[in-house]
């Protein structure tokens, strides 16, 4: 097996940031998050996001123990790096920063998890078991930024070796609050279970169940769930009918949905590319 076996797809970190910020420091951050998420012009976000990331850095310098602000910063840095940064070194630096913010949030929250995330799998899995429903947002941000980090370090075997931990963390999020972030944890589990074909011990059928649940939980509004379902599952299963149907649904749907407009705009763009390359793949 090889080093890019587990290359992750574009990961979705953005949605759900806005609603979690209640404090006065967070009010501005929350409003800005909403503005980002409801944007239908990718270029505006791409060009405007760095200023917003700097603003978050500044706010955190003044309020370093604000958990919600840390979570927002982690997810936005991770999303920005995954979606817009193509230069590998820069993407690695930004996902590193994203994960560091997430780790800080974890460490404010749960000492056991803070100590164990770099330890062997079993220790980490035991720490996850101590988490409660209120921990779902911080755990989700941590796992999602870790996934982005792995994605940008996919030529590093130690990064790949941590994928099972990310999967375990996402499973825990599902157990704690599966509907959090429109079922985003299911979407990650869909991707993680379809990285390897069944012949190599992957669980594509389990992945399919997660994709379907993610679509269901977002009431079909999160178009990225359908795109990932097509790209990861339908291509792996060589099911062109499913692949094309999902992507045509995405193309026909309205991208504008509260909190999902940006991600849906991106999803439509990807759907078009996947439809165009289907002839060569299948």
């Amino acid at each position: 097996m090889t080093r890019t076996l587990l290359l992750l797809p574009l990961l979705i970190l953005l949605s759900g940031c806005a609603s979690m910020l209640a404090s006065s420091t967070g009010k501005l951050a929350g409003d800005l998050s909403s503005a980002v998420l409801n944007q239908d012009d990718l270029q505006t976000v791409q060009e405007g996001a760095p200023a917003y990331l700097l603003l978050l850095d500044g706010m955190l310098a003044g309020d370093p123990k604000n958990e919600q602000l840390l979570i927002t910063a982690a997810r936005l840095y991770g999303a920005y790096a995954s979606i817009f940064v193509t230069e590998p070194d820069r993407a690695r630096r930004l996902t590193e920063k994203a994960r560091n913010y997430a780790v800080r949030a974890v460490c404010l929250n749960n000492e056991t998890l803070c100590r164990s995330w770099q330890r062997p799998y079993d220790d980490f899995a035991a720490a996850l078991a101590t988490l409660k429903a209120a921990d779902a947002p911080v755990l989700y941000a941590f796992a999602a930024t870790w996934a982005s980090w792995i994605q940008t370090h996919s030529d590093d075997w130690s990064a790949l070796a941590d994928l099972p931990k990310v999967e375990a963390a996402m499973r825990r999020v599902v157990a704690l609050d599966e509907s959090y972030d429109n079922g985003g944890a299911h979407l990650y589990l869909g991707v993680l279970n379809t990285l390897r074909p069944a012949a190599l011990g992957g669980k594509p059928e389990e992945g399919q169940t997660h994709f379907r649940r993610a679509i269901e939980l977002s009431q079909g509004r999160n178009l990225m769930a359908k795109v990932q379902y097509a790209e990861k599952y339908a291509r792996l299963a060589f099911d062109r009918k499913l692949h094309d149907r999902l992507l045509q649904e995405v193309m026909a749907a309205d991208a504008v949905q509260p909190g999902l407009t940006l991600i849906n705009t991106l999803a439509k763009q990807q759907a078009q590319k996947l439809l165009a390359s289907a002839k060569d793949y299948f």
Binding site: M1, T2, R3, T4, L5, L6, L7, R119, P120, Y121, D122, D156, W157, S158, L160, A161, L163, P164, L195, R196, P197, A198, A199, L200, G201, G202, R235, L236, A237, F238
Partner: protein
């Protein structure tokens, strides 16, 4: 002649050429168990697009990754039926076509990568020639690496194996003989079920390469690696010779040059990957267990028995084995070099 007319003629010629090349295009459908996006697939796809370009569209590779065409056996059957023109498969997968291509897979024949590299430099062409005589064109061997025993409890003595539930790849004659010679009964399972088997405790010991253990996530359940290379394995792109001969000699030369480059690169890359993966396993808390010389002796004795038995079963020819032994003896007689730890 006016420029316009010249352009018109050129355009017509181009159209004719395009039509002609489409009519002549040779589609090579290649299946593999390797998932899309892996180094294997990335490199083969890169090679394929270079070939399309350089043969002006006359040779088109179409890949079926991720085991969608089944395992090595199914792929071979589909090649015979003409549904596929080739497969990127493990050396062992071609055993029914050419048994001697398993010669490197015999248990414990190599003690180090240095020995391995020396023997391969002498014998790889024998293997590819043998395959070609039996109807398969290939472009060099790509290392998979050494397999080691990996377990949830430490194996410090050969006898410790008797307390383990050991996985054996379904239908793998070579590992079955080795385990029998060691006096243990392995549990045959398809690769599909290995991780689940480790998670449920159905099996406690597996054989695999460091990269395999991480990529297939076995490392989450394994705590020890017995640091003895028990088996060497490799992958190969085998193309149906009948399909291959449909290309013009100059196109054949392009395919050969490009794909040999791909396999040479894969061969080097995977060595590096395995070395990195060993370090990572250590970081993840996996302990590498060394065996005492007395225990190594026991292992080698069992391996000799297994090899003799496999020879009697016709798994390889004695000529091929003698050639391999000759090279090994020659290498081992050379003045000792500083051993390199892998």
């Amino acid at each position: 002649m006016s420029l316009r007319l010249l352009l018109k003629i050129q355009f017509a010629a181009l159209m004719l050429l395009l039509f002609f090349s489409n009519a002549q295009a040779l589609d090579l459908k290649i299946a593999t168990i390797a998932p899309d996006g892996t180094t294997w697939m990335q490199e083969m796809r890169r090679g394929a697009s270079e070939i399309v370009q350089r043969t002006e569209g006359r040779v088109v590779f179409k890949f079926y990754p991720g085991g969608t065409m089944g395992n090595d056996k199914n792929v071979l059957r589909k090649i015979r039926a003409g549904q596929l023109q080739g497969g990127a498969i493990t050396g062992g997968g071609l055993a029914e076509v050419y048994p001697d291509n398993q010669i490197y897979n015999l248990p414990l024949i190599f003690r180090s990568y240095e020995e391995m590299d020396y023997v391969r430099s002498k014998m790889d062409t024998l293997i590819t020639q043998g395959l070609e005589q039996r109807g398969f064109v290939s472009f060099g061997l790509a290392e998979g690496g050494f397999a080691y025993l990996m377990s949830s409890r430490p194996i410090r003595n050969v006898d410790d194996l008797k307390n383990e539930k050991i996985w054996m790849p379904e239908g793998d004659t070579i590992s079955r003989s080795m385990y029998q010679a060691l006096g243990v009964s392995p549990i045959p399972l398809p690769l599909t079920d290995v991780l689940t088997g480790l998670q449920t405790g159905l099996i406690t010991t597996v054989g695999g390469s460091p990269t395999g253990a991480i990529a297939l996530q076995w490392h989450t359940k394994l705590k020890y690696v017995t640091d003895v290379p028990v088996m060497y394995f490799y992958g190969i792109l085998a193309v149906d010779r009948k399909a291959y001969l449909k290309m013009s000699p100059s196109d054949q030369a392009v395919v050969r040059e490009v794909m040999q480059g791909v396999f040479d690169k894969l061969n080097r890359q995977i060595r590096q990957d395995n070395e990195n993966a060993r370090k990572v396993l250590r970081q993840q808390g996996v302990e590498f267990v060394q065996l005492a010389p007395k225990e190594m002796e026991k292992l080698h004795k069992a391996a000799s028995e297994a090899i003799a038995q496999l020879g009697a079963q016709g798994v390889y020819t004695s000529d091929m084995f003698k050639t391999l032994q000759g090279h090994l003896e020659h290498y081992r007689k050379q003045p000792a070099k500083t051993p390199v730890q892998h």
